[in-house]
Subunit: 438 residues, 2 copies
């Protein structure tokens, strides 16, 4: 008991088919359900790829196996060596009759959360017992699609000649002069958790890396408690040289479009499990300027002045009008960070963009200022001290190329791909102001 | 001046060949060197892929272009529209004659660090100006190989059916009961930076994810200052269910072997730039037990008792004997973390392994304890309080499968792949006790 020894899984549940009639298989997984009648036991085994039915007829198996089968409990971990028997009356056209069953671990009863339940518990209960929650196929499907998304994004970056970089998350000062930072005791010094790799990826451009990407944690000490913010998030960040913001937007369109294509191709059963109405977007997305977007909001009765950041109400009004994926471009300079390049003809607007999905912002980007003097002026104009950006600013003095880039929120993008309303559904162990465990 | 406008790079330097004689190209990059004679200027342009020579003959270009060329300074950022002219006497069999040159950004002089210098400065000077340091082809080559390594590793995981996961780096308590943690102020609470995803990847096994991997930051508040430790590192972590430690080792062999193969295939010019003696290892690596390794150390005069962790002196002695990549297996249980599975016949040794390269440990792994009672006992036996592992331990009560896994240090593995002696050479912005910037 409890020993895997030399047994290894020969098939996942979904790989067994009626055509394997007579073949011996070794399966491993959890007891999803067990029903023992007088001379017959039915076990449904669950593994990562699905469910499979075992039939244990008392006459056809040895006594030990039959007794063991009857004693199984929900969520026990078992392995079965058995024979595939084609049977037209069985749900999938076959059954597996075990020759030997081994229990690898018992599950206590009752379960604090039952993975076979149709109606899930409240999200907080589920997150407290996330290891049980993620056994449900609908939850696993979200994370399989998320994994596929990350794979697809890296593939696109790689095909386009981007280099993957790792930049530090322990930093000495704020990226954007903001206050929403988590402080750390770093030996004798104070340090902070990085809220964005922005300054580092720009320094990579000065370093001649040409095109880089990084997929990593960002940390924001924001106090709001919404369904679309977390304090620890995964950001897909990129920066590219010798291009403008339109090239950066084209790259973002390619990355996003390819994600949909790859997920549709590689994860059809997860799309089905989640009952997604999965539509691949066009290769280019609609674009509206900030001014046009504000007009839309105003026309729908939202109170907003040109120059303000978009309120939730404005985002909702604009999202209703635009639907799906679209860009908002030509933002007021004052709404964007100091490193954003203003338009050469009208410095009240700048070369920034947001990628939206309906009312949700999923990506922000821009062409950046690459001239040292403009950048120093801009930092000062915003009431920040250029001295505190010394190592960053130095990179602009010795040959900084024109560059542009964006950050795409991996958790939010997963929400859209999997049609979830709460970002916590798309993160295995979410971190918000209240939640720091498990 | 300073505007990229509608110009886009048509070729990287390495893509231009003599057969393109007569063709127009647009190149973008840095002035690596400039030599202006009376009626002739030579510019060597550097981009991410290499160097390319421009010849600017006064008779063949307009006056403005010639004057501009003469005024160029080292590390200015320029773009050139020019014509390829085959010339057997030129270094690569061709030259580019510019029709138009645009300056995209000037570089101040003198440079605090000159990327064209053959003899590099001290490492601390270089790290202070990392953006200039990484312009040197030898430095870029390290990070191109690092990027290729990460790509190869993910490819192997993907081919073997592993799901990529993201686990939190903000945690409420220590992974291994250790004290080497960075504390954070997390709103009203105290939190820590994750020193390992260990407990999370094990919970994923309880969650039925079967095989997972994560490549992410780990943070260790260790005070030592060596050439092989940093306080922020990238760890390649994996965990797999229904297998033992030997399967985990086989997966590690596959991951490492494929890295060498992919780098040799995809990064030949970086291997050349770094003058690496790049040998692809066998598909399986030699294995010695801890006891055998201790005997080797003792035979070489190292003082060590069975049961102690390997000292630096012992690692050196063993590394000298073994060379290259090899495993040390069957470690004394007391030297390994509480979650390591002891041998069923002799609980003084356990199912743990280290992957070494000569004297450097690059990976640690083991089969884990999957039985709740054993785990609780083990935590208590080590003087820790099982209550502080509550959410982790709960995952073992409701169906935890047998599982094994490992962590591979991305920074250390890069050291080996690129033949570097100091881990700081393999990390863009290293973090140690003294260094928190840039």
């Amino acid at each position: 008991m409890y020993i895997i020894a030399d047994w290894r899984r020969t098939h996942y549940s979904e790989q067994v088919i009626p055509e394997m009639d007579g073949q011996e298989v070794i399966l491993m997984g959890w007891v999803h359900s067990i029903r023992a009648l007088g001379k017959l036991a039915f076990i449904i085994l669950r593994d990562r790829e699905g469910l499979i039915q075992m039939v244990v007829p008392k006459q056809k198996v040895d006594e030990e196996t039959f007794e063991l089968a009857k004693k199984l409990g929900k969520e026990d971990v078992i392995t079965i060596r058995g024979k595939v028997v084609a049977n037209e009356k069985a749900p999938k056209g076959f059954e597996v009759i075990p020759m030997e069953i081994r229990i690898l671990n018992k599950a206590d009863a009752p379960l604090p959360l039952d993975p076979s339940e149709k109606v899930p518990a409240e999200i907080d209960t589920r997150l407290d017992r996330r290891f049980l929650d993620i056994r449900r196929p609908k939850i696993q499907a979200i994370f399989k699609i998320r994994s596929e998304m990350l794979k697809s994004i890296r593939k696109t970056f790689s095909e386009e000649g981007f280099i993957e970089v790792n930049t530090p998350k322990l930093v000495a000062s704020a990226t954007e002069g903001g206050t929403e930072l988590f402080p750390i005791s770093y030996f004798e010094k104070e340090a902070f958790l990085g809220q964005s790799p922005q300054l580092y990826k720009q320094m990579m451009m000065a370093g001649g890396f040409d095109k880089v990407f990084e997929i990593a944690q960002i940390f924001r000490a924001e106090e709001h408690n919404t369904r679309r913010h977390l304090n620890e998030a995964i950001s897909i960040d990129t920066e590219m040289s010798f291009v403008n913001e339109k090239d950066a937007m084209a790259m973002l369109e390619k990355v996003v479009h390819n994600c949909y294509t790859d997920i549709e191709y590689n994860r059809p059963s997860e799309i089905e499990t989640l009952e997604l109405n999965f539509e691949i977007p066009e290769k280019t997305f609609p674009k509206v300027t900030y001014s046009e977007a504000v007009d839309v909001a105003v026309s729908k009765g939202v109170e907003i002045e040109w120059g303000e950041d978009l309120s939730r109400a404005a985002e909702k009004a604009i999202g209703d009008e635009m639907g799906g994926l679209y860009f908002i471009t030509e933002w007021p300079t004052q709404t964007r960070p100091f490193y954003t390049l203003p338009d050469e003809n009208d410095n009240k607007i700048c070369k920034a963009f947001d990628l939206m999905y309906k009312e949700l912002e999923i990506s922000s980007g821009a062409q950046r200022i690459h001239k040292y003097d403009s950048l120093v002026q801009n930092i000062a104009k915003r009431g920040m001290n250029p001295d505190s950006f010394e190592t960053y600013l130095e990179a602009f003095r010795y040959g900084m190329p024109p560059h542009a880039g964006w950050g795409l929120g991996a958790d939010r993008f997963t929400m859209i791909l999997t049609n979830q309303e709460n970002i916590r559904e798309c993160v295995l162990f979410p971190r918000d102001r209240q939640r720091l465990t498990p």
